[in-house]
Symmetry: C2
Subunit: 657 residues, 2 copies
């Protein structure tokens, strides 16, 4: 046992030394608790690392990545000793912070503090819902724990605070958080920035709180985990540890994030460690083989038999679950055409109707909002999720936007559920760090964000998005949809649900929009397509999205009628998908020789990609105004006449020059 | 008293009805507590609303704006009855959510939930530091309270949770939060999304917790505030209220955010209110005149005498304080030239040296980081701020990025202190909602964000900013500086400290950068300027920022030497300031007839504004890689040779076509 723990430590600090980069403090301090968890509790099968009913493990303190990599290697995951040697090297599977889409056995991408715990709350929630939906007395196919190791920094983050409030409220008793309580942060001792009573704080949020006084004592840690598993509440186990235990600078911030260098010999001496760097004693492999790998394989074998029994006895449910886990949503958008409104309707209303119907068609669809369902119209089915109603698919997040997004990441990672999160578009700001992780983890969560422009009206500039469009469009691996009417809204949902490795944002309006004559559900997949005018040889091409597409058509009609200018209008519901089209499609659509102008009720930042830098981008680059939305638009002079005049003037300037 | 409270209510619901938009629930529920606070405690002078030693009031629940506007009107602030009639109308001073830069008597812009309390923590902190620095036994010139009215939603937000942890730690006992506890949220009753014990939660964070069982009982509220003022801790007063008290749908979510319409008559009847809409009984004006206005004027008069006495007896301190309050930082950058390094140095090191020197020169400079000072090198002077060291100008925020930014907003709003906040650039994501409020409130806070590109290296994609450049540049009223070396870093600080109504972000590197031959402290103010090549008739103009300027010069030299192509290099430390230059400056600098290319180690999103849409933007549009930074750059092929080749190929294409 000692030798196994020592191996974890030595692999970690050797890898850090070799990379000359990394965080030895947590490796030396938290190795005993990680060892205890892996060898005595965590149920995983290293050969089938995506087994959905495994115990999930989140290293919230992601800077301790090499601790996790060492454990994964010893446990028999597909991560060999050379991968450890390549710690923090380009294209290795052992990057500086764990990345779930990259490395077998890494369940969640962590590093941005606080989000690990919130994401674990999502994993634990998913387990309760899937258990409620699919477990039978004979076949309890969902029955796993979610474990977390976190540090002080995680607990200081607001997103964690939001998430623990929900975890306590939801009584997610199979969530067990081991808190590596070492009293040290990067800049100072923890007590310089904090004097909160952690135990009382968690108890106030309806958590079970346990204390382990010696973080080197495997038995004490083990007993605490055993106790936690019996709790009817989520549990925080505060484990007192010494950061960088054994190093000369143990117990100080100096050992947090700098390689040990020559001081590694101090550790070697203390541990009486006589092996070569990256050498693992056979008895240590044996320990992990028996206590993690074989134990896990046995459990998985039993589970597989149970699962097969379940599928045999409940073929319909088995199929349903399979579709949910693999994300097979082959619905036909035609089946929702009857929802098409006969008169002008806000896309938030269209979105709500579509979501309601989809909730009927797709049993795995789950979601809700940060206390704004009444406004966004995005609401899950089957009642509010709660202790009493584990099958409820409407998630009442309260005003906790960031936790909502991070929890949804966890739900999505778990597989078996298809989460959406909704709120006002301007509050995408609050969710941004979690949206980034959705993209980085390559998971297809859906964000439904309404009130998508200054047309919000009376709520004023604090509630009117401007720059959020550029904020999201500039993020890698994110599809940002801004549909123009019902058809495009349906197209956005259809595309989002068919997308496997990219999250989607669907931006919808508060105000009514007319149904366009030539809007097209299927063409949303192309990212942009023609909705008005002739195919080619146009004088002007107008690019618009969402609520401004109908305006662009009005502009086009006026230009044609009053000025005999030939105009095409392109609806561009998703830039990112347009970028994926071939050059021929783009050139034909965008007509590089025409005068190209964009019309969008938000920042013009970024539009020059399509319009060049001639300045013909109609948008709003300042904060908004509080007022009835028509007045707000008039205040900014954002109307058909002004746009027509600007284009005409510009065209004549060009002709003159 | 009853009539005064009824007036507040009626003005509020009438204004909401007239606007046909707004939130009557809080007006009817919280009017008694707001009345009690204003008439019995809050010390303000409506004639000198920017008096820095007034009691500050933050309506964290900003959707209750009309409650605040009614109180300000009755108290004699420059907000007349027509302003109330214009509630939620374009260019009114009574927008949907309170805006501090717009409306006399509005201390903080609120609406985005959670930030109000965090900002109030900053106000309360500022009071303690200014008191410690300037108060004498004879002249206690800083001695005010900071009051907040918040709702359930505020308390659910993570940023509030972060902020209360700090407020308790810092024992900000003159911070008093009235919690409008009405058990109702927009979507549901509060208990659907929350079951936390609020009292215990605040006690765990070292707060004083008081409970008022009847929110209509002015005496009970009054007694609680009296008690709170005597506490040695910050106080939360939970006041039980009935949302929409008196309306047919009182006590339900339906009354939260929709105008009462005809139901206003139910209120009129209950209150026996026989006045016309917007009519205020004279005795109510009298009540406020005596109990708010005259009381405040008297207190202000006394204070003014005290302040004059203070300035007379302590002229140096008086001058120092005056400079601090009015932001007079007329330092000469020449005085910092000795800090210029003789060899390559990371701009985070330059920034740290500059900040340290500035801390000596500017006594009001205060700041710190979210537990990353060791990495960002941004640290305030005079030790860590604490109960024992109220003069400490180093703020140890712990890992609480969002609260840091929101608290700094409060410190800045207070005036008298000049706050900076630091962290890793990628975690600007966590601060984004507060950065937006800095811009909207038009306050000159400074953000010092290091590790500003994938050159972070080993920490990998979770810690490597990509899209953050576009996120911030697209935000209105924000100057984003990315200095290329020491000179430009100094120029950025100099410009930021001379800017009165715009926040600044200064982006600095982890890796060493060479000092440029032609970098210029003063030219940073222009936003962009030439650092290499001939003034005009260039074949190619290279635009670059920060760490890529020296690379651009290397590219230019190679193009000239190998290909005889004439190249100019423009360093663009601040796009926003370039946009403010006249057309002549821009045209001369950017040479529209040349081939223009951008080089920047982040998203290319937005660069087409300067380079047109021909695709010659060298940057990184995917997530990064973990590895030594040179390897990461090579992985992306981001090197001089590849850029040279791409430009040459592109140029020949053009020549051929």
């Amino acid at each position: 046992m000692k030798k196994s723990i020592d191996t974890i430590k030595m692999l970690g600090v050797e890898a850090i030394n070799k990379a000359n980069s990394g965080h030895p403090g947590i490796v030396l301090g938290a190795a005993p608790m990680a060892y205890t968890l892996f060898t005595r509790h965590l149920v995983v099968n290293p050969q089938v690392d995506k087994w959905t009913n495994r115990d999930w493990f989140v290293l919230a303190a992601g800077h301790g990545s090499v601790l996790l990599y060492s454990l994964l290697h010893l446990s028999g995951f597909d991560l060999n000793i050379d991968d450890l040697r390549n710690f923090r090297q380009v294209v290795s599977i052992t990057p500086g912070h764990p990345e779930s889409h990259l490395t077998p056995g890494v369940d969640v991408t962590t590093g941005p503090l606080g989000q690990g715990i919130a994401t674990a709350v999502g994993l634990a929630l998913a387990e309760t819902q899937l258990a409620a939906k699919y477990n039978t007395k004979k076949y309890p196919i969902y029955n796993h724990y979610t474990y977390v190791i976190c540090g002080d920094g995680d607990l200081q983050e607001g997103v964690t605070q939001e998430a623990i409030s929900l975890a306590g409220h939801w009584k997610l008793n199979k969530l067990i958080v081991l808190f590596d309580s070492n009293d040290v942060q990067l800049d100072n001792m923890v007590n310089v920035a904090q004097s909160e009573n952690i135990g009382n704080r968690f108890k106030a949020a309806n958590w079970n709180y346990l204390f382990v006084k010696d973080g080197n004592d495997v038995e004490e840690i083990d007993q605490a985990i055993i106790k936690a598993k019996k709790s009817d509440k989520p549990t925080l186990i505060e484990v007192k540890t010494i950061i960088g235990y054994g190093a000369t600078k143990q117990g100080t911030p100096a050992v947090h994030g700098a390689p040990l260098g020559a001081d590694i010999d101090t550790i070697r001496k203390m541990l009486k460690w006589n092996y070569k760097p990256f050498e693992v004693p056979n008895e240590v492999y044996d320990d992990f083989d028996v206590n993690v790998k074989q134990r896990g394989i046995n459990k998985h074998d039993k589970w597989l038999k149970m699962y097969q029994g379940f599928c045999k006895e409940n073929p319909a449910l088995g199929k349903e679950l399979d579709d949910a886990v693999y994300g097979n949503f082959n619905f036909n958008p035609q089946d929702l055409r009857d929802l098409k409104p006969i008169k002008a309707q806000a896309t938030r209303i269209s979105s709500g109707a579509i979501l309601d119907r989809l909730s009927n068609m797709i049993p795995s669809l789950i979601g809700g909002s940060a206390d704004l369902s009444g406004s966004t119209k995005a609401k899950g089915a089957d009642g509010v999720y709660s202790v009493e109603n584990r099958k409820g698919r409407n998630l009442a997040y309260g005003v906790r936007e960031f936790a909502m997004a991070a929890i949804n990441n966890g739900i999505c990672l778990h597989r078996g559920l298809t989460p959406f999160a909704s709120g006002f578009f301007v509050f995408a700001d609050y969710m941004k760090p979690a949206i980034r992780l959705s993209s980085l983890m390559e998971i297809p969560v859906i964000y439904v964000l309404s009130h998508d422009s200054i047309a919000v009206g009376g709520d004023g500039p604090t509630h009117q998005p401007i720059e959020q469009l550029a904020m999201l469009r500039s993020q890698p691996n994110l599809n940002v949809f801004r549909p123009a009417d019902f058809n495009e809204t349906l197209g956005a949902y259809h595309t989002a649900l068919q997308t496997k490795h990219t999250p989607s944002v669907i931006l919808i309006t508060r105000q009514d929009l007319p149904e366009l004559e030539h809007s097209n559900v299927e063409m949303v997949k192309k990212g942009a397509y023609q909705v008005y005018g002739e195919d080619n040889n146009n004088d002007v091409v107008l690019l618009a999205t969402g609520s401004e597409v109908s305006m662009a058509i009005a502009v086009a009609q006026k230009l044609e009628h009053d000025k005999k200018i030939k105009v095409k209008v392109v609806s561009m519901p998703c830039w990112e998908l347009l970028e994926q089209q071939d050059a021929e499609y783009k050139t034909k659509l965008l007509e590089p020789n025409a005068l190209i102008a964009s019309i969008e009720l938000g920042t013009t930042f970024g539009w020059e990609r399509y319009t060049s830098n001639k300045g013909l981008n109609f948008g709003i680059n300042t904060f908004g105004q509080s007022g009835p939305f028509q007045d707000v638009l008039e205040y900014f002079g954002f109307n058909v006449e002004n746009i027509v005049n600007a284009i005409v003037n510009f065209k004549y300037q060009i002709i003159k020059s």
